[in-house]
Amino acid sequence: MAAPQPRSGDPPITPDLVDEHGISPDEYREILAIMGREPTFTELGVFSAMWSEHCGYKNSKRLLRLLPTKAPWVIQGPGENAGVIDVGGGYALAFKIESHNHPSAVEPYQGAATGIGGILRDVFTMGARPVATLNSLHFGDLDRPRVRYLFSGVVKGIGDYGNCVGIPSTGGEVYFDRGYEDNPIVNAMCLGLMRKEDLIRGTAEGVGNTLMAVGARTGRDGIHGATFASEELSEGDDVESRPQVQVGDPFTEKLLLEASLELIASGHIVGIQDMGAAGLTSSGAEMAGRSGTGVEMDVALVPVREQGMTPYEILLSESQERMLVVAAAGREDAVREILEKWELEAETIGSVTATGTFRVLEDGVAVADIPALPLTEGCPTYERPGEESAEVRNLRQMDISGYMLPPAGLEEAFLAVVGSPNVASKQWVYEQYDTTVRANSIERPGGDAGVIRVPGTNRGVASSTDCNGRHTYLNPRAGAMGAVAEAARNVTCTGAVPMAITNCLNFGSPLKPHIRHQFREAVLGMRDACSYLETPVTGGNVSFYNETDGQAVYPTPVIGMIGVIEDLDTIVRHSFRGAGDAIFLLGANRGELGGSEYLYAVHDLVAGEPPRVDLQAERALQRCLLAMSSRGILASAHDVAGGGLAATLVESCLGRPRAGDGVGASVRFTDDLPDAALLFGEDHGRVVVSCAPNEEERVRRVASDHGVPCTRIGTVTVAGSPLEIETRASTLRLDMDVLSDQYFGAIPSVMNQAV
């Protein structure tokens, strides 16, 4: 076979060109060794994309290997389009989280929309029907117009896309903190269900099988998106990055979803993969790499949207809503027929070979021929030492005991915390998402975790995304552990058993020692928590270079947790039910205020040691909760997190927006802690539960059996009564209508004003 020759018009390969492709001199030497010759321009582009941070994981791979990935219920761990676990009853769940931070910073609506599109494809290419999405969003402070623009655009983008495809949103999180001023974090997660036997992988098996490009046409959009996602933003990027904006077409996605599931069920195909980051290049090379085969494709056969596209452009385009399919030889027409039913195109573009190379032709003339495995797996990886920044260390070690007194009094502070956009209801967000389509949403957003029913069964899947970036900023290890613990606790509160996680690691530039420190610490914290809580990692995503003009975001390892609830009749909701019910606190108050919402909202301070995680206590608490829920003795359960007990109690009383099921409560604490620390401390390992008076004894007994501190703190009171809280030092009587306005009104009052 002829080796590829430079195309006319290709620029010569110079050190500058190599550098522009984000390839270091050492890496280029590696490429020369792999190729045994100078690469063509097209090949350089292919290497650049595949060896980018985004595809090659060069600065994260070694550390990620430390994560626990196995458990008897894990069917597919990291390395595929999505992780897969057994959820019982013959069903498997595919799930994954992905970032779309950079595209969302440039064009929030399309950036977020295409983020949803990509993660849906990752899930349905496993053979699973998407059943739920979640989103984890972190923005700068809401008082800045630019932030409001980004926030509203992102939410609308997520909504419009997911709604059109018809996938309910079951949850997520939104944070606002100056740590995300110019770099929003936009992570989207998808859950999909399938019968276990329908699992299919992204492989290119069987020499002679046919490669088909399916779905939308290829345009010039997003070329070098993978490289772009690996570079930091700088002023003026709005203009520079214009050609990289990808526009989402959710309708085509919906067709692609239906067609793909039909294709997979038909048995006509052996492999399928989304053309995501680095498009045709990564999908082709990865499918070949996983199977130990090769692929050969002719770019002239790829359906394009624009005239005159070069092989370089076609290979690297990130046009949305496209898939690469490996059809069993001879079944191409059957494949085409299914796609035609869904009004989609399918073109044969090449075949599976035995050569082990990723070979590309243009009208029959070779333009690239690269060994597939080194391309996908051979990217040099680095693990350079990190070092904590002195600034963060100082903040963490700062003595915050002087901030126990809220300047305007406790009640004002209480209202400020409950009405801070981080604690306040995210109703404004999730009501823009279809939460009920497909009629399986058993627990919608607004509680601790969303719960979706496995269709046709009484089994449910609970999910939650969590990461308190302020905590991870101050102490990445404790913060990451805390994110896992909180996510598991959220899921457990509904009565579901935490099973596995996916994660999205959003960090600044790994070229900086303090970012490397954050990353390493966060991975170690996640490792420890996941190992101990037996929730292995089945996949995820790393997003580095979330920086603008050298300013990095808070390290933000978002955890997407999955739990299974075997009997939906045992589900527990987060809000108090009946007046007269007894309220208990499970777990102990330690009054940890470091990195709290209280310090931020009341004292404008990000400092202190964030709450530590006692994994043993956390596990005991979770088992205790599950024992209670499976016995049906709880009326409600709601975990304590951002905003502390104050937030938990208010949320438990208010119930769901629009449901009109709010109640009051009368609570008393005897802890020997300053009021602020007691009410606003964000210590882990705590859940507020309620039960009917006749279950009180059983609640106490189950808690003591599990060695979990259990304190009766009060009683639910009738609708219309206030929230009364008594501490050693103070008594608060808070009108529920006032609290409701604070809690439900905070975000709308900012967002419903024009611009």
Partner: protein, 90 residues
């Protein structure tokens, strides 16, 4: 001061995918309009504005386009002022 009606046409940048246009094209074809070769969809915005002159009205609207009416990343715009007191397409 006069009242002008200013027309703003906002269109997707060439090269960007236009799913709406694509869908309309498809629908037209299936209705038998097969001589249609391409369809692009944008927004038409009509502003009634008080200004000293048409030029002033146009200028102010162009400024508003850059700030709000068009998305500089994905859209182009074109502004035309009608004569004062002319109702335009209203």
């Amino acid at each position: 001061m006069n009242r002008f009606t200013v027309e703003v046409l906002v269109t997707p940048r060439p090269g960007l995918l236009d799913p709406q246009g694509k869908a309309i094209h498809h629908a037209l074809a299936s209705l038998g309009y097969d001589s249609v070769e391409d369809v692009r969809v944008g927004r038409a915005i009509y502003l009634d504005i008080e200004a000293g002159s048409a030029a002033e009205a146009t200028e102010r609207v162009e400024d508003a386009c850059r700030k709000l009416l068009a998305n500089p990343v994905t859209e182009d715009f074109r502004v035309t002022a009608a004569e004062p007191a002319c109702g335009a397409v209203r």
